[in-house]
C-alpha cells in the first residue's frame, strides 16, 4: 500500500487522496522498471525484462477503478502497477519475478505469471489472449452465484488479433458478463506496427460488432483511464455487460530489454516523450498543490530504493529446490 501523506492541505481538491495514491502507484510501477532495468544491465536478470515505460497510467488507472476486495485482476506483462494497486507485497512480487525460493510459482515460471487468489490477481501466460476467456469464465461463475465480481483484463495491439480474444469478447457480450477488456495500443507488437496488425481505424470500433460498449482514450492520462474504467465497472456491476476500452499509448522501450527497438522512428519516441504519463501527472499534482516537488522527489527516491532493496533480498534467496520440478503436475487428492 502507498504511504499516506501526513500533510493536509485545505486547498487540495477533494480527490487529492486519490491523486496521491495514483501517483504513488505509478511511481512504484516506474521505479520497479528502473530497478529491473538496473538488474538487467548488471547481467543478473533471468528471463525477459518487459518494461512498461509509457504504460503506467493504464495499469494504475484501470486497477484503481476496481474494488480490490471483490473484483479480480487478470493483468498482462506490462501491468505491474495493477499488482501494487491490488496490494501485492513488493518482496513477494520480486521473488516471483526472479523465480527464487518462496515464489508463488515454486520456480515453475517467473515474471508476473503468478496467481495470488487472496489478492485476487491471476497472471497471464505467454500466449497473450488466452486468459481472456478464462477471465470471462471467472466472472460467469460469480454471476451464477449472484456475486457482483468484475474482472479487468488486458491485451495489446498485437494480442488483440488472436482468435481467442474474438471468442471471449463475443462470449462475454452474449452472456452480458461483467468483464472489462483493455486493449493497450502501444503502437508496436514486438516489432510490428499497427498498420500490419489491423486495418480498422480504432480497435474499440470492434465493440460495436460485438454489441458491447467501446471507446478509445488517451492512455497516458491516468485520471481519464480511471474515470473511463469506473464507468465501465459501474455498468458491469449493474448487469449491463462488458466493455472494450482501447488505451492509446507508446511503448517507450523494446519488446523486452534485449530488443533495441531500432525499428521505431526516433521522432515518434520524441513526440511521445512529451506525453510521459508519470511526468505529466507529477506536473499536474504539483500544479494542483496536492504534493510538492520535493515530496515527489523524495517519494521517487524512496520507492526506487525500496525496489532495489526488495530485489537484493530476493537475489539472496536460493533457487527453488530441484525437487519442485517433479511436484504438482497434478493436484493430488
Amino acid at each position: 500500500m502507498p504511504k499516506k501523506s501526513t500533510s493536509t492541505r485545505a486547498s487540495a481538491p477533494k480527490n487529492a487522496e486519490l491523486a496521491r495514491q495514483m501517483l504513488t502507484y505509478m511511481i512504484m510501477a516506474r521505479e520497479f522498471d528502473a530497478a529491473m532495468l538496473r538488474l538487467y544491465r548488471q547481467g543478473k536478470a533471468f528471463g525477459g525484462v518487459y518494461s512498461q515505460l509509457g504504460n503506467e497510467a493504464v495499469s494504475v488507472g484501470s486497477a484503481m477503478a476496481l474494488d480490490n476486495k471483490i473484483d479480480v485482476l487478470f493483468p498482462m506483462h506490462r501491468n505491474i502497477g495493477g499488482h501494487f494497486v491490488f496490494g501485492q507485497d513488493i518482496d513477494q512480487l520480486m521473488v516471483n519475478h526472479l523465480a527464487r525460493e518462496g515464489s508463488q510459482m515454486r520456480g515453475t515460471d517467473g515474471t508476473g505469471h503468478y496467481a495470488d487468489p487472496q489478492r485476487r490477481i491471476y497472471g497471464n501466460v505467454s500466449h497473450l489472449g488466452a486468459m481472456i476467456p478464462v477471465a470471462a469464465g471467472f466472472v460467469m461463475a460469480g454471476l451464477m452465484r449472484g456475486e457482483k465480481t468484475v474482472a479487468m483484463t488486458y491485451i495489446g495491439d498485437g494480442g488483440a488479433q488472436v482468435g481467442e480474444v474474438h471468442e471471449a469478447l463475443n462470449f462475454a457480450a452474449v452472456r452480458k458478463l461483467p468483464l472489462i477488456v483493455i486493449i493497450e495500443n502501444n503502437q508496436y507488437a514486438y516489432s510490428t506496427p499497427n498498420h500490419l496488425e489491423f486495418a480498422c481505424e480504432r480497435l474499440s470500433d470492434r465493440a460495436q460488432g460485438y454489441g458491447m460498449f467501446g471507446t478509445t482514450i488517451d492512455g497516458t492520462d491516468v485520471e481519464l483511464v480511471y474515470q473511463t474504467c469506473r464507468e465501465a465497472v459501474q455498468r458491469a456491476r449493474n448487469g449491463e455487460g462488458p466493455s472494450l476500452i482501447e488505451t492509446v499509448t507508446m511503448r517507450m522501450r523494446g519488446h523486452a530489454e534485449h530488443d533495441d527497438f531500432a525499428y521505431v522512428p526516433k521522432d515518434i519516441l520524441e513526440r511521445w516523450s512529451t506525453k510521459d504519463p508519470v511526468e505529466t501527472y507529477i506536473s499536474r499534482v504539483i500544479q494542483q498543490g496536492i504534493m510538492t516537488e520535493s515530496e515527489v522527489t523524495s517519494l521517487r527516491e524512496s520507492t526506487l530504493s525500496t525496489m532495489i532493496a526488495a530485489i537484493d533480498r530476493a537475489l539472496e534467496r536460493p533457487w527453488p529446490a530441484a525437487e519442485e520440478g517433479f511436484r504438482n503436475v497434478f493436484i493430488e487428492s
Partner: protein, 324 residues
Amino acid sequence: MATMTYLEAIADALRLEMRRDPTVFQIGEDIGTYGGAFKLTKGMIDEFGPTRIIDAPISEAAIIGSAIGAALNGMRPVAEMQFMDFVTNGFNQLVTVAGTTAYRWSMPVPIVVRGPSGGGVGANPFHSRNSEAWFAHATGLKVVCPAFPADAKGLMTASIRDNNPVVFFEHKGLYRKIKEDVPEGEYVVPLGVARVVRPGTSVSVIAYGSAVHMALEASEALLREGIDVEVVDIRTLVPFDEETVLESVRRTHRVVVAHEAVLTAGFGGEIAARIADKAFRWLDAPVRRVAAFDAPTPFAPTLEKAVLPNAETIVSAVRDVMAF
C-alpha cells in the same frame, strides 16, 4: 442395476453429479433445449435450467477457457465438444492453460472436457478423429477412454470429482450400440485402474475404447484356434495403470497393443515401450501394435473400413505373436 446404453450411462452420471453438487454445470453447443447433437443432454435443461446447462456460441476456446475460469472460481464445469474433433479449436486452452495451472499455480482446475470421438460410423475426417494421444502427451491433463456403459458412468463421476482437468473421450460408435447393467445411483470408477475384461492365458491384448470390443470379438474367433486371449482395458491413458498391464504380460508372455487411433506416436507406442522396458525378460515375442493407418479417417465406407483396425486385424496380429 439398470440396463443402460453407453450414452445413457454417461448422461446418468452427469445428471447425478449435477443433483449432488451445485457447483457442477455444463456448457457446450446445442446442449440445452436441443439436447445435444447426440441427445446426450436431452431434458437436462428442464431439470437444471439455462444457468447450469449453458448453450454457448460456436467458440470452443471460449467454452473451454470459460470453464477453466469458472473452475478457478469454485465451480466444476463439464464442457461438451459437439465432436471431439473440434477440441482443436480449444487446444490452446486445454494444453497451455488448463494443463499447466496445477504446476504453475498449485491451484486445482476441476474441468471435464468431454465429447464423442472415433470413427467407423461413416462420418468424415472431421467427425471421426481419435485424438487422445495428443492430450496424454500434453502434461497435466488426465485422459479417459471408456469402453463400457458402467465404466463410462463410473469414470465420468470420478472425472467430475477430480481436481484436475480431464479430457473424456466417448466413442460415438458405442453410444447406442452396447447396453449393459449399470449400477444405479452414485457410482465411481477411479481413474488410473485398468481392468482385465477377459482373462486368458495365451496372449494379452492391451486396448482401450472401441478397440476393447474389437479385441473381445477377436478373442472369440481365436478361442476356436485354441488361443486363449486376455483382454486388458486400460480405461484411462493418464493416469496409466502400468502394473496391471505388466502383470498380465508376465503371465501370458505375449502382447498385442490395440487402439483405433493412428499408429505413429499413438498411445500404443507408449504402452509397448513400457512393456519393453519393464517386462522384457518375460516376453516370448516382440510387442505388436494394431492401429489405424496413418491418415485422416476417410469418408467412403470402403476406405474407412480399410484404414481402421478391426477384430480381423487383431486376430492376425495375435496369430503373428503366437507363431513367433
